[in-house]
Amino acid sequence: MEDISREQSDSSSLLQMRGIVKQFPGVRALDGVDLDVRAGEVHCLLGQNGAGKSTLIKVLAGAHQPDTGEVLLGGEAVKLANPTAAMRQGIATIYQELDLVDGLSVAENIFLGHEQATFGFTRRGEMFAATRKLLARLGHGEIRPSTEVGRLSPAGKQVVSMARALSHEARLIVMDEPSAALAHDEVTNLFRIIRELTSQGVAVVYISHRLEEIREIGDRVTVLKDGRTVAVGLPARTTPTATVVSLMTGRNVEYVFPPRPTGGFGDEVLKVEDLTVPGVVSGVSFTVRAGEIVGLAGLVGSGRSEIMEAVYGARRATGKVTLNGRPVKLGDTSHSVRIGMGLAPEERKAQGLLLDQSVARNITLASLGRYSRFGWLNRKLENAEAERLVKALDIRPPDPNRPIKTLSGGNQQKAVLGRWLVEGRKLLLLDEPTRGVDVGARAELYALVRRLADEGVGVLLVSSEVPEVLGLADRVLVVREGRIVHEAPATELDEHHVLDLVMDATPSHG
């Protein structure tokens, strides 16, 4: 690969990591990683799942010790022996899970582990004042220091995490997918805060799967692949997407969507008439035909997920829903499954997976009836079917007995979709199917969804990523404030047009 552009360390480097190697039993997670971050820049870290991003940031956070390699901070070699040591050096890490304790107040969370205390007794007044100052600096003076963190929204929690980073007088803040849990306008606010911080000389290492975000907020990009640095310091705004993706995957993959079928679609599978969820969805009607992928585009809170959940029966609703001409009992998910619906929910980990159970178990879960007689499971049959599906779905590693939590996000999602690959499914509901899935694995998921459709299944898709809806769906329904405001074949729409429709007359509380 000729794109490697190792720069000579210049004096403006805040952080330099050189030749970092980290070996775990059976895996070489980092195999000579270099990273160079300047003060006041947003440095994006890109790489597929398993490329070594999480291990690298854990080394930075002091949670892992590298086997070889050196870390220089401001030109001096430092040893980050544990999280506290890293924070003392001014490196703060905001993990995706945010690391907040719900039962403690905002101020207590911010100063957790470095309380302002005299002989162990906390100086509350001081901590409250400092908290107010930090929150104001982040533009969120309205969050009260005494509020229990468990009562804040995800965006509020993120602000608290950032305030905590600032409270350590961080010179370098590492953010692991900070936008994953945020709605569109909250991401805008996040970027405002990041710009504020960098203008004060703080460096930010930003990790995200969303290339659009990296273009918007990033200054330079470092790409990791298989535990190695394959590109250092690419300009974030001007490097072509194709270059970035090919660096990440090592092959020339475009943001590939499978081709749409040339022929027409089959009969109407799903017919929704006047579906209403009080306060969220008002009088929505649409259809999905066999073999067709219908995409719902809309902002978080527009009602797009609620429409899907109501169709599936996971939410109380009124209206008329028919599947292959048979009326669907609203609010009864087990009936929905029995007559041929399948849902891959948005929060895969919370709603869709038994994390400690095997891959096989997770795949066959929804169709256990198929392998049982008089309530007794036929394990042999179940395992054989699971094995077949693991192969068919190309789940890696191809071991049906592995606990599913040890798989990457993309492979977990394949297993969730695999549940519905068993015969007899008529309608598949996909809510954010590629959230937390890297670019390479996305293409495989898209192909899988299309394959299901080609087998005659109707697919209803919800995604907050407009290009995904436009690329994968055949027909797009634009949802705004609980109504379908536009409907068109995907080929007749472009991203700009959809975004306009989606955000038109932005709701007041929005």
Binding site: N82, P83, M87, G103, G120, S153, E186
Partner: protein
């Protein structure tokens, strides 16, 4: 979408809900109901002598419940807490009567013993990563066997007696086992220990770094570790605290009775957990209150004596205790859900 709460402070209704969301609210309501109930049925129950009478069992239980509540907030259990009240008393008793040491020295030895057992419990839990339920179940059974075996081996009986003749008994008894007369009620000094420890625990949990650490290691141990909270030290300290609380109760017991049974304290460990849960502790950790645990102990004391005062058969006591537990937990859950609605 709002990020935080409104800037101008909560409206009154929200404030009421915020108050209701406190963990000890269920226990507070429960304690008031139980008090009014028995006080209206029995005149003795509300007399100073009666109050002194039901505060006594509440006090020794309360000392333990507060420590156990802190441990539970920190995300751990200690099933050896009950038997430890017996073990520490036995150590004191054996050292004082067999070696003839001054009682204060004997108490000091058993304090060291308690610290050691608490440390071992905590160390094993942290070192092995096994659930504290299992580790302390092991130490519970071992101590139970030791209590009986060692006592029988050295005294030939299951009872250690003769504490009153040991040097220093009088002064030690003053500190741990005396009674104070107030308005004609003979109040045990253990009530003062209980109140003092409750205040200390409430203050430490809510107003010190250590208190924050306790909530964080119980609520989200990974987060605590990532921000540099000394997780191992915090949890071991909690186990040691529980063992030391058991030492205090054991000392109170042996000085009061001047003797100790080899099976003393066994079976109490679950009562401590019951009191803590009535007081609002979650079994999952990270949530709870020392004041609530104390109120739980108070309910326990009032019911145990109240049943006698109103002339019911004391055999029913456990039934009431169980019912109280369920009612308190359901109330807590209901109230919390109501309070949670405030944020939606």
């Amino acid at each position: 979408m709002t990020v935080g709460q409104d800037a101008g402070g909560p409206v009154p209704a929200a404030r009421v809900r915020g108050m209701l969301a406190r963990p000890e609210i269920g226990a507070l309501i429960g304690a008031l109901v139980v008090f009014v109930f028995f006080a209206s049925l029995s005149e003795v129950f509300r007399s100073p002598a009666g109050i002194a009478n039901w505060l006594d069992p509440a006090s020794t239980l309360g000392i333990m419940a507060v420590a156990v509540a802190a441990l539970m907030i920190g995300g751990e259990f200690d099933l050896s807490a009950g038997v430890m009240t017996g073990s520490t008393a036995i150590v004191t008793g054996l050292v004082a009567t067999r070696l003839g040491w001054n009682i204060w020295l004997a108490i000091g030895v058993s304090l060291l013993f308690a610290v050691l057992v608490g440390f071992l419990n905590g160390y094993l839990v942290m070192r092995t990563g096994l659930p504290s339920f299992i580790i302390t179940l092991g130490s519970f059974l071992m101590l139970q066997g030791l209590n009986l075996g060692v006592t029988k081996l050295l005294t030939g009986t299951v009872l250690i007696r003769g504490l009153a003749d040991v040097p220093g008994y009088h002064s030690a008894s003053m500190v741990f086992a005396s009674t104070v007369s107030v308005f004609g009620g003979a109040f045990r000094v253990s009530v003062l220990w209980w109140i003092g420890l409750t205040l200390l625990a409430v203050y430490v949990l809510r107003r010190t770094s250590f208190g924050n650490w306790v909530f964080s290691v119980g609520g989200d141990v990974r987060a605590a570790r990532n921000v540099g909270v000394p997780v191992v030290r915090t949890k071991i300290t909690l186990f040691v605290t529980t063992a030391v609380a058991a030492w205090l109760v054991g000392t109170i017991t042996i000085l009061r009775l001047t003797s100790i049974q080899a099976n003393s304290g066994i079976g109490q460990e679950l009562i401590y957990i019951v009191a803590a849960v009535i007081g609002g502790c979650l079994l999952t950790g990270g949530y709870g209150s020392a004041a609530g645990a104390t109120l739980g102990a108070l309910i326990f004391g009032m019911v145990s004596q109240g049943i006698v005062y109103v002339g019911w058969d004391a055999d029913w006591f456990k039934f009431f205790l169980g019912a109280m537990l369920l009612v308190a937990v359901l109330t807590n859950q209901f109230v919390r859900r109501y309070a949670e609605e405030a944020k939606r």
